[in-house]
C-alpha cells in the first residue's frame, strides 16, 4: 500500500484504480471549514441580507393572538382587589390571563419555585407581571389592559442595598444563606502583615440589551401538547417550565430555537416567563399565541446583572506582596432567588482573580430587594468579584508607591503550580505570568507609563491613566451536574450530514464551531454539514448554553456522535473489504480503504445498502469536577482561561468626561477552534464590559421604578466609544492542558473582564488629578458624574 502517494497534496499522484468507486474522488489537500479555520459565522450572509429569521420574523399562523403582559406599578404591595371586567369588554380581546387560568404550577423559576407567573397575594417589584391579555393585535391587548382596576395596599419596600441590609437584619434572614470560603488563617496573617488597608467598591448592575428582545410563540397541538418557539439559551428549562405550568409531562412540550438576537445570560432563566404566558394563552384560547414585550417592558420586567458591594481588607508587605485578603460581598438579588446563589458563588470564586492569596476569607450575603430578580449575565458574578481584588491591587500600589503592574505581577499564581485558590483548588495551569509579560512588552507599558506621567505633569485639566490587568476565569458550571451535553448527528445516504446538539446560537458562533468539529471528524467540507435549530425533541435534558461552555460541551458531544457513526463506517469497510481498522483512513472528502479509496458519500451509500445505522447521539460529561459547599472546597473548574488587557484613558477633571484612547488585549483561547469567531468574542466582550463599568447606569427612583429602561436613557457603547487603536491578539502559545475539544478554551465570558483595565485606568487618572494623598473610591459604573465626584474627593473638594 502506498499511502504516501495517495496523500499527495498535489493531487497529481496516481491513484490506484479500484472497482470500489464509481467516480474518482476529488483530491483537495484539506477540507473546507475544518477546525482552526477562520470561517465566517454560518449565518453571516443571511445576517447581512436580512434573510436570517428570528422568531418575530416567522410567518404567523392564521388566528395568532398577541399577548400583552401588564406590569405591577408598585414595588411591594398587597393586592386587595383586581377587576378585569373592562379588560374583557375591550375590543379585540380574546382572553384575560390570570393565576386562576393556570392549570399547573404558577411558577417560572429555574430552581426555587419563587417566581410566580402572575402573583395572587402580593407584588414584589415595579414591573412584575400582573396579568396578561390575549387579543387580535398587540395594540388592542395593550389598550385593553389599561381597563383593569386594582387596589393595592403598599408594604415597606427595600430598593437599595442599604435598605436591603436593614430589612434583612430586621428579619434575621437573607434571601439565600450566606456562604464563606476560607484559606489559611486570615486574621493572624492580617495582624502580622507589614501594611493593611481596607476599602469599599460598589459595582452596579447591567442590562443585557440583547438587540432582539424576549419573545415566545406557542402553537397548541393535539392531546394538549404544545409547540413553543422561544428566544432562549435554555430550551430544556423553558420546556420544563411550560409543562409544569400546563400540568403536563415534559414530553408533551417541544421547544425550538434557531437563533437569538443576542442573549448574554439574559435568555437563560428569563424566557420561561414569556414562553409560559404564550403557552397559557394558547392553552386557554386554542389559538397560536405570541408574547413579545416591547423594549421598555422587557427592560423593566427582566433581571439584570447583580449589583454588588465589595468590602476588602488586605495585608501586604512593602513590596506589594499580599499576605492575606478578606472580602465581604453584599449581593443585590432582587425579589426572588433565580440563579443568585450560583452567581454570588462565582463572584467568590473570582475574588482572587489571577492572584495567589496565602490566606483569604470571602464572605457573601445575598439580599432581597423589591426590584427585578437579578439573573445571569456574561461572567455570572465573576466580573464583580474580580473588581474587588483589582481595586485592592491599585490601592496597594498607591500605598506602597509601586507601579500597579508590579504589584500585580508579584502576586500572580505561579506557572509551576503549588498555589491553592480560596476554595482549595490547585491552580496547575497558570499562564498569566507569560501572557502579562508578553503584553507588557508588546504594548510598551513602561514607555507609556512615563509618557502618561509627563502628560499629567503638563496638563492641569486633562489627566491620563494607564492600567494593565489580568483575567483568570474558571471554566465549568459550578453546579457540577450541568456539565453535560448531547448531540444528534444524521448521515443521509447521499453523504450529507445533519447536525443537532443541545447548544443554542445567540451570535457567538457556536453552531459554526460545532459544525467545524463534525466536518473535521468526517473529513468532509463544512457545506455538507447542515446546521439545524436547537429543539428539545432531538436532544433532551440539555443545560443552558451558558458559562462559556457551549463549544466545550457540545463540541465534544457532537464529536462523539460523529465518531460513533464513523466507527460503524469503519466496521463496514473492514468487513466488506477485509482490511484492518487502521487501514480505513478518512481523508478530505474521501476514505482510504487499504490502497483503494472512495468518496465519503459513496462509502455512506454502500453502508446504507448494507443496512448500517447512520445516525447517532453523542454525549459528553466534563470529568473530575466537584464542589463541596459544606467545606467550601473542591475542584469546581475543569481549567482556567487567561488573558490580559492594557487600557489608556484620559479624563476631564472639570466635567468627568473621559475617553478610552488605546487598548491592547492578549487572550488565551487555547488552540482556537475558529480564530475569527474568537477574536469577535474577545473584542465584543471587552466593549460590553467597558459599557458595564462606564456609561451603563441602571437608575431606580425612590418608588422603585427603573427609569433607565430604553436606549434613550440606558447607554451602551457606540462605535465612537471604541478607540481606533484597539488591538486584540490570540495568545499564540495557547493550548489547553485539559483534554478539551481540540485543546481549545472557552471564550464567551472571560474577555468581558478584560474591561476592568479601563476601570482601573480611570482610577489611575483620577489619582493623578489629586495630590497623591488620597486614593479615589471610584465606583462603577464610572459615569462622568462619578469620575468628577472622585476627582473632587482626591482634591479635597466637597
Amino acid at each position: 500500500m502506498d499511502v504516501t502517494r495517495i496523500q499527495d497534496r498535489s493531487g497529481a499522484g496516481g491513484v490506484a484504480p479500484s472497482a470500489l468507486h464509481e467516480r474518482p474522488p476529488t483530491h483537495e489537500g484539506e477540507i473546507r471549514g475544518g477546525v482552526a479555520r477562520a470561517l465566517a459565522h454560518d449565518s453571516a450572509a443571511k445576517h447581512v441580507s436580512g434573510a436570517a429569521r428570528y422568531i418575530d420574523d416567522e410567518p404567523e399562523l392564521p388566528g395568532t393572538l398577541q399577548v400583552y403582559i401588564a406590569l405591577s406599578p408598585r414595588a411591594h404591595a398587597r393586592i386587595l382587589s383586581a377587576d378585569y371586567t373592562g379588560v374583557r369588554q375591550a375590543p379585540g380581546v380574546h382572553a384575560v390571563l390570570t393565576a386562576a387560568d393556570i392549570p399547573g404550577k404558577n411558577d417560572y423559576s429555574p430552581v426555587f419555585g419563587d417566581d410566580p407567573i402572575f402573583p395572587t397575594q402580593t407584588v414584589e417589584y415595579v414591573g412584575q407581571p400582573l396579568f396578561a391579555v390575549a387579543a387580535e393585535t398587540i395594540e388592542a391587548a395593550r389598550a385593553a389592559a389599561k381597563h383593569a382596576v386594582f387596589t393595592f395596599e403598599d408594604l415597606p419596600a427595600a430598593i437599595t442595598i442599604d435598605e436591603a441590609l436593614v430589612s434583612a437584619d430586621a428579619a434575621g434572614e437573607d434571601l439565600l444563606d450566606a456562604h464563606t470560603m476560607r484559606l489559611g488563617d486570615v486574621d493572624a496573617a492580617l495582624q502580622s502583615a507589614e501594611m493593611v488597608l481596607e476599602g469599599r467598591v460598589e459595582v452596579g448592575g447591567q442590562d443585557h440589551f440583547y438587540l432582539e428582545g424576549q419573545i415566545a410563540t406557542a402553537v397548541p397541538q393535539e392531546d394538549g401538547d404544545m409547540l413553543v418557539r422561544s428566544s432562549t439559551q435554555h430550551p430544556s428549562e423553558v420546556q420544563h417550565n411550560v409543562a409544569k405550568m400546563l400540568g403536563v409531562a415534559d414530553h408533551s412540550v417541544t421547544v425550538e430555537v434557531r437563533r437569538m438576537g443576542g442573549g448574554f445570560g439574559g435568555k437563560e432563566s428569563q424566557p420561561a416567563l414569556f414562553a409560559s404566558v404564550a403557552a397559557l394563552a394558547a392553552h386557554v384560547t386554542g389559538r397560536p399565541a405570541k408574547c413579545r414585550p416591547d423594549r421598555d417592558d422587557d427592560m423593566v420586567m427582566t433581571g439584570k446583572r447583580h449589583e454588588m458591594r465589595l468590602d476588602y481588607r488586605v495585608g501586604f508587605d512593602r513590596e506589594g506582596r499580599i499576605a492575606a485578603a478578606d472580602f465581604a460581598h453584599v449581593v443585590r438579588c432582587g425579589y426572588s432567588r433565580d440563579l443568585s446563589g450560583a452567581i454570588a458563588d462565582r463572584a467568590m470564586f473570582h475574588a482572587d482573580n489571577a492572584y495567589a492569596l496565602p490566606a483569604a476569607r470571602i464572605h457573601s450575603r445575598r439580599l432581597k430587594t423589591n426590584t427585578v430578580s437579578n439573573t445571569a449575565f456574561r461572567g455570572f458574578g465573576g466580573p464583580q468579584g474580580m473588581v474587588g481584588i483589582e481595586r485592592a491591587m491599585d490601592r496597594i500600589a498607591f500605598a506602597t508607591g509601586l507601579d500597579p503592574l508590579d504589584v500585580r505581577k508579584r502576586n500572580f499564581y505561579p506557572a509551576a503550580g503549588g498555589a491553592l485558590t480560596p476554595y482549595h483548588m490547585a491552580v496547575t495551569d497558570s499562564v498569566i505570568e507569560d501572557i502579562v509579560g508578553e503584553l507588557e512588552a508588546s504594548c510598551d507599558y513602561r514607555v507609556r507609563r512615563e509618557a502618561v506621567r509627563r502628560f499629567n505633569a503638563d496638563n492641569p485639566v486633562l489627566k491620563k491613566g494607564l492600567a494593565l490587568t489580568p483575567v483568570k476565569f474558571g471554566i465549568s458550571f459550578t453546579t457540577s451536574h450541568l456539565n453535560q451535553a448531547g448531540a444528534l448527528v444524521h448521515v443521509y445516504k447521499d453523504g450529507s450530514v445533519q447536525l443537532n446538539h443541545g447548544g443554542t446560537e445567540m451570535g457567538q458562533g457556536l453552531f459554526t464551531k460545532v459544525a467545524q468539529v463534525v466536518a473535521e471528524e468526517f473529513q468532509i467540507d463544512i457545506d455538507h454539514v447542515k446546521i439545524t435549530s436547537t429543539t428539545t425533541a432531538k436532544v433532551p435534558n440539555t443545560s443552558a448554553t451558558a458559562a462559556s461552555s457551549g463549544s466545550d460541551l457540545n463540541g465534544m458531544a457532537a464529536q462523539a456522535a460523529a465518531r460513533a457513526i464513523k466507527e460503524r463506517l469503519i466496521d463496514y469497510a473492514c468487513e466488506q473489504y477485509h482490511v484492518a481498522r487502521d487501514q480505513v483512513v478518512f481523508q478530505p472528502n474521501r476514505v482510504l480503504i487499504g490502497n483503494a479509496e472512495k468518496r465519503f458519500a459513496d462509502l455512506v451509500g454502500e453502508a446504507y445498502l448494507a443496512r448500517k445505522s447512520l445516525s447517532s447521539t453523542g454525549y459528553y460529561a466534563t470529568p473530575g469536577i466537584h464542589y463541596d459547599r459544606e467545606s467550601a472546597s473542591g475542584t469546581p473548574f475543569y481549567y482556567f482561561a487567561y488573558g490580559a488587557a492594557c487600557a489608556e484613558v484620559a479624563i476631564d477633571t472639570l466635567t468627568g468626561e473621559y475617553r478610552l484612547l488605546r487598548a491592547d488585549i492578549l487572550h488565551d483561547v487555547g488552540r482556537s477552534l475558529n480564530p475569527a469567531l474568537d477574536l469577535g468574542q474577545i473584542e465584543g466582550g471587552f466593549i460590553q464590559g467597558m459599557g458595564w463599568l462606564t456609561t451603563e447606569e441602571l437608575w431606580w427612583d425612590k418608588a422603585g421604578r427603573l427609569r433607565t429602561h430604553a436606549p434613550s436613557t440606558y447607554k451602551i457603547p457606540t462605535a465612537n466609544d471604541r478607540p481606533d487603536n484597539l488591538t486584540v491578539r490570540l495568545w499564540e502559545k495557547g493550548e489547553n492542558r485539559a483534554p478539551t475539544i481540540y485543546r481549545s478554551k472557552a471564550v464567551g465570558e472571560p474577555p468581558f473582564m478584560l474591561a476592568i483595565s479601563v476601570f482601573s485606568a480611570l482610577t489611575d487618572a483620577v489619582c493623578a488629578a489629586g495630590d497623591g494623598k488620597a486614593f479615589p473610591d471610584l465606583d462603577a459604573p464610572a459615569t462622568p458624574e462619578r469620575v468628577l465626584a472622585a476627582v473632587q474627593a482626591v482634591r479635597g473638594v466637597r
Binding site: 459565522h41 449565518s43 453571516a44 445576517h47 447581512v48 441580507s49 436580512g50 434573510a51 428570528y54 418575530d56 420574523d57 395594540e139 440589551f209 440583547y210 438587540l211 432582539e212 437563533r259 438576537g261 443576542g262 442573549g263 448574554f264 423594549r295 421598555d296 496638563n459 485639566v461 486633562l462 451570535g507 489608556e648 479624563i651 476631564d652 472639570l654 466635567t655 468627568g656 475617553r659 484612547l661 469577535g680 473584542e683 465584543g684 466593549i687 460590553q688 456609561t695 447606569e697 427609569r707 436606549p711 434613550s712 447607554k715 451602551i716 457603547p717 457606540t718 462605535a719 465612537n720 466609544d721 471604541r722 478607540p723 481606533d724 487603536n725 462622568p784 458624574e785 468628577l788 465626584a789
Partner: protein, 485 residues
C-alpha cells in the same frame, strides 16, 4: 377627499389605504409587506435596527436619499416618497458592503446587522463616508451589543474606498414618478378615524393649522413618533409640514443666517459649523445620524425640551424666532418662547416658521459644550452655550450664558451674566460667574445626573470657557486628544 398613500417600496408601487396614519413604517413593512429584514430593537429611534433608506425628489430634479428609523416614522409620510429596505440591497447577490461585512466578521447575532448595512449604504450613496471617523459618526446611532464595532467600522472603511454608482439618469426617472404619485396639492389621508394632511405650501399649511388648532404638527416625527410608540397616545389629526418648500430653505446674509423650520439637523450642521466649530461638533453629537436626517430645527424648538441640545446654543447666539398664525406672522427672541416646562409661547394653530441666528462678530467669544453620559446619541445632562461681547477696553460688554438641563426650560443664567458684565473675562470673573449660578438654577436630580453634578459642571463649563479663551492654552477637551499610537 381622502386619498390613498402612493409610494414605492423596494421598486414596487404601492397604494396604502385604511390604516391609521400613526401606523409606523416599521409595522407596515413587517406586518403588511412581510419584509422582516428590518427589525424592531427599541421603537424609539435609538438603536438603528429599523434603519431604511427614504428616497424623495429633491429641488434639482434628482433624488434626496437618507436613512431613517422606520420605527418612529408614520406611513403617510411615505406618500410620494420611496423606501428601500435590506431586502432590496443585494437582491442580486451580496453588495460589496455586505460582502465586506461577511469578510470582516461584522455580524454575530445579526439582529442589528440589517440596520447597520442600510445605514452605511445610505451614508455611502450620499457621500457621507469619507474617512474612518466619518464611518463611526454615520453609525453612532446604530447599537451593536455583540461585536464591539471594530469589524463593522472596517467594513464601512472598505466601502468608503469604493465610488458610489452614478445614478443620475435613473434618479431623474424615479423623481418624476414620485412627483406624479405625490400630486401638487395638499395630500389628505384618513384611516381608522384619524386624519393626516400634508400641505404643499406655507399658505395651505397656515390655513390648515388654523382650521385644525388641535392638530399635531409633525416634521421628522423623531419626538411625535414616540408619543405613539412609547406613550401610546391617539392622535386624531396630524399635519405633516415637510412638504412645504418655504419651510425647508435657509438664507444667509452678512450678519445672520435664517433656518427654515424643517431644515433637518444634518443640514443644520453644515450651516451652523460655519458659524463656529463648536456648533458643528454639537450637531455631530446631536442624537444619531438617522435622527439628524429626520428631525428638524423647528421641531426641536417647538417641542421645547428642557434640554434640547441646540436651544441653549441658539439662545446664546441671540436667535430670533419667527412664528406664523394664519396670515399673521410675528417674531420674538427665542429665549422668550419657552415659558415653563412643557409650555411655549405658541397659540393653537400657530406654527414655527423659521429662526434667525446672528453670526459671531470679531469682538465676540463663543463656545458651547454638551455634557452627557455617553458622547454620541445621548441627551445632555448639562448643555452650556456662551457668547461674550467684549468692548474695546477688553471688558465684557454683554454676556449671554444659556444652559440646558438646569431648569424646566433652556434658560439664560442672568446672575452669572451680571457677574461678568463690566469685568475682564479672567479666571476670577469665571469663578464669580460660576458661584452666581446657584442663584440662577435649582436643577433636578434624575437618571441623567444629580442636581449637584449639574451645578458643579455648569460652573466648570464657565471655567473651561475662560481657560479656552484665555492665554494659557490649556487643553480642556478629551475629544480633542488623538488616540494613543
Amino acid at each position: 377627499m381622502a386619498e390613498a398613500i402612493r409610494t414605492i417600496i423596494n421598486g414596487q408601487e404601492r397604494r396604502i389605504e385604511g390604516v391609521s396614519p400613526t401606523t409606523t413604517m416599521l409595522n407596515h413593512l413587517r406586518r403588511t409587506e412581510r419584509l422582516t429584514g428590518t427589525k424592531e430593537g427599541c421603537a424609539e429611534g435609538d438603536c438603528g435596527a429599523c434603519t431604511v433608506m427614504l428616497i424623495e425628489p429633491d429641488e434639482a430634479g434628482g433624488l434626496r436619499r437618507r436613512a431613517v428609523n422606520a420605527c418612529i416614522q408614520f406611513v403617510p409620510s411615505l406618500h410620494g416618497r420611496a423606501i428601500e429596505t435590506i431586502e432590496q440591497l443585494g437582491r442580486n447577490g451580496l453588495h460589496p458592503l455586505q460582502q465586506a461585512m461577511v469578510d470582516h466578521h461584522a455580524s454575530q447575532c445579526g439582529f442589528c446587522t440589517p440596520g447597520f448595512v442600510m445605514q452605511l449604504y445610505s451614508g455611502w450613496l450620499t457621500g457621507a463616508l469619507t474617512d474612518r471617523q466619518s464611518v463611526k459618526d454615520v453609525i453612532a446611532g446604530n447599537l451593536c451589543r455583540c461585536t464591539g464595532y471594530g469589524p463593522i467600522i472596517d467594513a464601512g472603511v472598505d466601502l468608503a474606498r469604493l465610488e458610489p454608482p452614478d445614478t443620475a439618469a435613473d434618479d431623474a426617472v424615479l423623481a418624476e414618478r414620485l412627483r406624479s404619485l405625490r400630486g401638487a396639492e395638499t395630500f389628505a389621508y384618513e384611516g381608522e378615524g384619524a386624519r393626516w394632511f400634508a400641505p404643499a405650501s406655507l399658505d395651505a399649511l397656515a390655513d390648515l393649522a388654523a382650521a385644525h388648532p388641535d392638530a399635531v404638527l409633525v416634521a421628522g416625527a423623531t419626538d411625535v413618533g414616540l408619543w405613539v410608540t412609547k406613550l401610546h397616545r391617539e392622535l386624531p389629526v396630524l399635519i405633516d409640514v415637510t412638504r412645504v418648500p418655504e419651510l425647508h430653505g435657509w438664507s444667509n446674509d452678512d450678519l445672520t443666517v435664517t433656518l427654515g423650520a424643517t431644515v433637518t439637523h444634518r443640514e443644520a450642521r453644515r450651516i451652523l459649523e460655519d458659524l463656529h466649530p463648536d456648533l458643528g461638533e454639537l450637531m455631530r453629537r446631536f442624537a444619531g445620524y438617522q435622527i439628524r436626517n429626520a428631525g428638524t430645527v423647528g421641531g426641536n424648538i417647538a417641542n421645547g425640551s428642557p434640554i434640547g441640545d441646540l436651544l441653549p446654543a441658539l439662545i446664546a447666539l441671540g436667535a430670533q424666532l419667527q412664528l406664523r398664525h394664519g396670515t399673521v406672522g410675528r417674531e420674538l427672541p427665542l429665549e422668550d418662547f419657552f415659558i415653563e416646562y412643557g409650555r411655549q409661547d405658541r397659540a393653537k394653530g400657530e406654527l414655527v416658521a423659521s429662526v434667525t441666528v446672528p453670526k459671531l462678530r470679531a469682538d465676540q467669544l463663543f463656545a458651547c459644550y454638551k455634557i452627557s453620559k455617553r458622547f454620541d446619541s445621548d441627551i445632555s445632562a448639562v448643555m452650556g452655550a456662551f457668547r461674550l461681547t467684549l468692548g474695546d477696553d477688553g471688558l465684557v460688554r454683554e454676556a449671554r450664558l444659556a444652559f440646558g438641563g438646569m431648569a424646566g426650560t433652556p434658560q439664560r443664567a442672568k446672575a452669572a451674566e451680571a457677574a461678568l458684565v463690566g469685568q475682564p473675562f479672567d479666571a476670577a470673573a469665571a469663578e464669580r460667574a460660576a458661584a452666581a449660578l446657584r442663584d440662577d438654577f435649582t436643577p433636578l436630580t434624575d437618571m441623567r445626573a444629580s442636581a449637584a453634578y449639574r451645578l458643579t459642571v455648569a460652573g466648570n463649563l464657565l471655567r473651561r470657557f475662560q481657560m479656552e479663551t484665555g492665554a494659557a492654552g490649556t487643553r480642556t477637551r478629551v475629544l480633542d486628544l488623538s488616540d494613543v499610537a
